[in-house]
Symmetry: C2
DNA sequence: TTCACTTACTTACAAAAAGTAACTACATAA
DNA sequence: TTATGTAGTTACTTTTTGTAAGTAAGTGAA
């Protein structure tokens, strides 16, 4: 069993959970609503709901309710979530440099 | 369905696959053998084998065979793999800043 | 010459997570 | 009271993971 770095392991556990990267990518662009993310991302409502709940619990995402009609709920990044920007940007840079369009198709 | 950025999606698909982050973390320290990684990481042989095969196919990891006795096989990062260093280092930085020891326990 | 040893995997099967589609809850508004 | 809009949840199937035992190839010892 590992002791390479418990904090790194914990961080990877959160970040590498399926769809979390894409959700963060979306939210780095600004606050988003549930339905907006659902239609922008190839993720189902079931998992989007799960992930947002998890990210909220981890203190990475904030959930804001606006009592309008119809009700509006916005998800945004906390300071902890916003701090992940360099990670996402580096992945974007790596993708630009190393992921070819062919790979994307196949 | 999404069109946010096909390359980013593909990159996340690779990087966020379970155990890939930890495997890259290990390999950034230098070439490693199968059994070495198996004992350093909390991953089973079955999945380690799967992941290394996948990373080799993606051109991120190189597999070198040394015909000694007993046979020695080393895994190392390609240039493409080495380029992921900033990503892993940023995750490490984020973990140091935001992941508390309590979170690691629980 | 057959049996054990070492590394590097592979197989088989049970458990957990993800995918899909239909359904619910709450607050209007007509 | 029926319909509409957002934000989910439930029930069920498929895929992925976890675990433990087994295989393969190349020595080397008896």
């Amino acid at each position: 069993m590992s002791e390479l770095c418990p904090r790194f392991e914990k961080a990877m556990q959160i970040i590498s959970k399926r769809w979390v990267g894409l959700i963060l990518f979306e939210l780095l662009d600004g606050p988003k609503r549930f339905s907006e993310m659902e239609s922008n991302l190839p993720v189902s409502g079931r998992l989007l709901s799960d992930r947002l709940k998890m990210l909220e619990q981890e203190g990475i995402v904030n959930r804001n309710i606006y009592s309008e009609f119809p009700v509006r709920i916005e998800y945004s990044l906390s300071k902890k979530g916003e701090s992940l920007r360099p990670v996402i940007e580096d992945i974007q840079k790596w993708a630009d440099d190393w992921v070819t369009p062919e790979e994307v198709e196949g």
